[in-house]
């Protein structure tokens, strides 16, 4: 049977408003900061760069490696590589670990105390050790970012298994199902929505930890771009780094969101 399809559309007002506020912020910003070299009542350029100048710098930095040693895209690419590989690693380790901790008493008994000790230590506190162990190359940063991504993966997977409907488990027992079978066919599917919830949180954690890791030890990456801008007193470079972080962050979180929605729809039709 063919049903009529309906197009869901937001009203004009709702679609325009976000753009309106964004434009307003940029305009106000532009007019409240003095142009380079000018000294008047406005915010001086050494404190903040104007959006227009940042845009110009951004275009220039697409090809120019000066003064920080790499083009904008190289910085972004390095940051992406670091955070995404750390993100994937945290999923690969954190989710299975959390799932097992939720179901198997032995695993929970072994890992819970270590996890509770480790959890309150902010990932950036590991930076000195990471530098000793890995130097300032990519591995050290991946290690630190990985620590940031692990927590939500473990907690959500653990809670997902813990909140499995107990009657579903009892039902499985009346069929004589083994512990392993209950884990794989009941606990894991029940936990999946929560596990997917962890993806966004873990990604967010990875992205913020990334900046911290790069601020302190690095020679490439968007976080490094910000540090470099600061050390030579260029606010436009600092702001460019910040905005690039924001935009790249939004893009990957949108991609993860799409993947997540697809996967979830596949399970929950």
């Amino acid at each position: 049977m063919a049903y009529q399809t309906v197009k869901a559309r937001k009203s004009l007002k709702l679609r325009v408003l976000p753009w309106l506020s964004l434009t307003a912020v940029i305009l106000i910003w532009q007019f409240c900061v003095s142009p380079p070299g000018v000294n008047d009542w406005r915010i001086p350029g050494v404190l903040l760069a104007r959006p227009y100048d940042v845009l110009l710098l951004g275009i220039e930095k697409l090809t120019d490696v000066n003064p920080d040693g790499a083009t904008l895209l190289v910085h972004a690419w390095v940051s992406l590589q670091e955070s995404l590989s750390a993100f994937l690693l945290s999923l690969l380790v954190g989710i299975p670990l959390g799932l097992m901790m939720g179901w198997f008493g032995v695993v929970r008994g072994l890992f819970r105390p270590v996890f509770e000790m480790w959890r309150p230590i902010p990932p950036v506190a590991w930076i000195p050790l990471a530098i000793f162990w890995f130097g300032i190359g990519m591995e050290g940063k991946i290690f630190i970012i990985w620590l940031g991504g692990m927590t939500p993966c473990i907690i959500n997977a653990y809670m997902g298994v813990k909140t499995t409907n107990p009657v579903h488990i009892q039902m499985a027992r009346t069929f004589g199902a083994s512990d392993w079978k209950i884990f794989t066919s009941i606990c894991i599917p029940s936990a999946l929505p929560m596990v997917f919830g962890a993806l966004q949180i873990a990604l967010g954690n990875c992205w913020t930890t990334l900046v911290a890791a790069e601020l302190l030890a690095s020679d490439q990456g968007l976080g490094y771009l910000i540090t470099a801008g600061r050390s030579i007193g260029r606010t436009d470079i600092v702001v460019l780094g910040m905005i690039s972080l924001g935009i790249t962050g939004v893009i990957i979180s949108q991609i993860i969101y799409r993947i997540e929605a697809k996967l979830l729809a596949g399970i929950r039709r």
Partner: protein, 254 residues
Amino acid sequence: MNKHVKISAENVSKEFIQKGTQRVPVLKDISLQVFDQELLVVLGPGQSGKTTLLRIIAGLEKPTQGRITLDGEEIRGPGPDRGLVFQSYMLFPWKTVEANVRLGLEMAQVPKEKHAETVRHYLDLVGLNGFEKYYPHQLSGGMKQRVGIARAFSTQPKVMLMDEPFGQLDAQTRLFMERETERIWLSDKRTTIFITNNIDEALLLGDRIVTLEGKLPGRMKKSYEVNLPRPRDPMDMEFLKLRHTITSEQELTL
């Protein structure tokens, strides 16, 4: 006739501890025998410990006192020799009708090559062919419960335990499902304990009806043989007479 005792409960009592310290007696001195190929109905009002009794037989709860045997062996935990149909349907929402039944077979470790045929057979039996690929949320209440029944039957348990399976259905669907249950039961006379709070349902289905007292702790009250030919007619004189006897001896809320 020399009847083989399938399930025997001997002085079973059950207490729950509620709110940490409060002892709530739920079942008291239940002694009960279920014979091979019998359809026994346990009739009791709400909150009389019916589900608890069935969960003890299923092995999901331990009795505080007494013991229950199946074919002479004490029940110590849940197992595939007893199939349980839950009061609430308890299907896996992320699996299709077919996959829900198949999961039961997998869990009971039925050899894989038998799955396809067994699933088809039991879905046919409960009249769900054509709905194999549906997800639970696309089914009506009656259909969901049929999946539950097919799933419980498919592993060929020695005993079927049915906990108010039609309690959430409207009167018409309910009557239809009762007829279906009778038909399925007649097809292989699997020993069955059927729990209900509805006297007409009890009389339509039961070979024998045992009643539970209304107030906690639930106690066994009486046992009635229902020697009426199947399918039974709720307007039949004998039916109504027995109905009257039971209701007058037990103030049922329903």
